[in-house]
Point group: C2
Chain length 397, copies 2
């Protein structure tokens, strides 16, 4: 064998670097304060209750948990998810749900069904980098739209939809990743009005929805757009990310059916034991109570991290205070690049993620994303203090 | 919203129909004798031991099982897999293993890394239809090579390699799916010699390897070809398919690294709880003893099904007796189409899978694939008897 040819999708220059794999690797080093990752706080995991659920599933339905299942997912779990939507006034039927290997896989499946090479895809700017990464597997043209403090820039959205006829618009309206921004009711309404006139599907990603510790929930685009909106969800931020259980809710029948075919081609179905354990946990416990506990913890952490940033970061650093979720988005003083902060901080045992991979086109930006969820006060204080030193050093260079 | 455009990869005419999803759906109907699926016998599942493993994992390392992990997979499990290869004289290191969501996902990841649209991919004719299905997501040209009773047709392989410069050659050398054929040592050697002179990667799929109940194992292509050969494996046929835990072993560093990136883009990592439970099971139990029990059961089932076929099927039906695995490949009397048998049998409560989806180009073939693994003697007798009636009916039309 003389040479190996790797596919263009994995070698093209605009394929985002291995940021995600790198973060996951950094997680493995217990000496690093990893403010860069998206890990929930381990104290939010209902370990004992999951243990009881696992035991019950194996004792009562062990054979079913170990056997092949179907591509759509475990029916009682799909039913539970649909019912949760209906409780919030969102019309979803069990027949519209597919369980996926985390919502990351739902992004992959949706992309496979929707994107032909060269198709336009609208995203927020900045957007979730692992979404950009998976979209790029299918060779679209990414069209970023500015984010204002109250959500997507509707005028620009309208202009770009007219200009590019996008296949879909990917939005994270609640505690957006990475910025923490939540769309106002006004922006939701206006954006929905613009979208309604187009052929673009809205892909609404909502991983942090339950983690609201301030304010009041806005409406899903699904309420305005019906079958024009697909919704992603996950148990990764509320119960367990290691279980890899997420979903997509899709009313549009053609897309739904193709996604089921695609899911079965990609990995047949999501692990059955995990799905059954998750369902058993949800059935036997007070899910809302557990979420409320997590929100209390995250509210405290967010406020504590904000205080630390105020204390340790130099003037000129700004931060958006989120109403929920797990992330804080820091704009550094003019001229301080996120990638330089990342490089210097890791040498002092603190991992952060620079703004760069969240942008499709901009590089050397002066932003970093911090995870406030995962850590004790002591670790947050230490991590932010070290970051403050790193940023001051870079300012004086 | 006026219209929806689905991607070409999901709508092109040669995209295999939803056979897999359909089989998985058929599994859900307990009144159907489903000889069409690939389900292992539930009596082969170590339910009690898996229950103990799950309990141990949750009690001792619950937080780790529920938290995010890394894209390569759980290190002790990867180590176990590498060690099993070494015990069989195959040089594999832990650094060459990626855990996937079943080996089906390994096919997807490998394809994403290797296939550009229009690239040539060599497969056996017939080949595993879900592999054809996932390859087609990446728009290759499929080049089928005849299978003889002792394995792939080496002369034709040599000719087609010269003619098409394939990116890879996908082979299932042991108890091939669907034919049950096992490559002879001579064919392995000769094929390896031909492949060595090419730039094609060999993708060796080996899901049934452990399920040998007759004869002696031949060498892996990896022994001849080193880094030119990637190997797929799975615990689906030995421990549990519902857990969705498979792997790819890849020595070629560029391909390996890109596959890790791809895996993290696709779904971050395989469910951690499942990986840890699987490892705990393998560590605490005698895996070889469990496999030996399953082989005993499958040997009996294969012989019993052969006897039933002899008893019930009309003259002109031929069957290849496999040395292991789960499937029997039946050539029907001239003029009887597999799709007609399928259509008539399901009305009588028996599901089979016709030969058609296993072929890239041939249609209306006179073959069907039967699963002998999953059933009791009584069910096998009844299923084969009904099939015999159906085939006789079709013969006399």
């Amino acid at each position: 064998m003389k040479k190996v040819k790797i596919s263009q999708r994995m070698t093209k220059p605009n394929f985002p670097a291995d940021f995600l794999a790198t973060i996951l690797e950094a997680n493995a080093d217990p000496t690093v304060i990893n403010l860069g990752g998206g890990m929930p706080n381990v104290h939010s995991f209902p370990v004992k209750a999951m243990e009881a659920a696992a035991d019950k599933v194996m004792k009562k339905r062990g054979v079913m948990a170990l056997q092949y299942s179907n591509a759509k997912g475990y029916a009682p779990l799909r039913d539970f998810i649909a019912e949760r939507y209906r409780q919030r006034g969102i019309d979803v039927d069990i027949s519209e749900i597919i369980i996926t290997n985390g919502s990351q896989q739902a992004l992959d499946i949706f992309s496979a069904v929707m994107i032909d090479p060269g198709d336009n895809v609208i995203v927020e700017n900045p957007s979730y980098f692992a979404a950009l990464q998976v979209f790029h597997l299918y060779d679209p043209v990414i069209v970023p739209i500015n984010l204002n403090k109250d959500g997507i820039d509707v005028a620009q959205l309208e202009e770009k939809i007219a200009e590019t006829s996008p296949q879909f618009v990917y939005m994270i309206p609640n505690f957006q990743n990475p910025t923490g921004i939540t769309y106002s009711d006004k922006v939701r309404e206006e954006a929905a009005e613009v979208l309604q006139k187009s052929n673009a599907i809205v892909l609404e990603d909502n991983p942090y929805e339950a983690l609201r510790f301030e304010g009041r929930a806005g409406k899903s685009f699904s309420c305005y757009l019906g079958e024009q909106c697909c919704m992603l969800g996950t148990f990764s931020k509320t119960v367990s990310p290691g279980m890899r259980i997420g979903w997509i809710a899709c009313k549009q029948k053609d897309i739904y059916d193709k996604m089921v075919t695609c899911k079965s081609a990609m990995d047949m179905h999501t692990n059955m034991f995990g799905q059954m354990v998750m369902y058993q946990y949800l059935k036997d416990n007070n899910f809302d109570e557990q979420i409320a506990e997590t929100c209390k913890l995250y509210k405290h952490n967010a406020e504590f991290m904000l205080a630390c940033i105020k204390k340790y970061f130099p003037e000129g650093a700004h931060v958006h205070k989120p109403e929920g979720g797990m992330f804080m988005w820091v704009t550094l003083p003019e001229g301080v690049r996120g990638i330089d902060v990342q490089a210097a901080a890791i040498k002092k045992g603190v991992a952060v993620i620079p703004g760069d991979p969240f942008y499709e086109y901009e590089r050397n930006v002066n932003t970093i994303r911090l995870n406030f969820a995962s850590f004790s006060d002591k670790i947050i204080d230490k991590g932010v203090r070290i970051l403050g030193e790193v940023i001051r050093d870079l300012l004086h260079k």
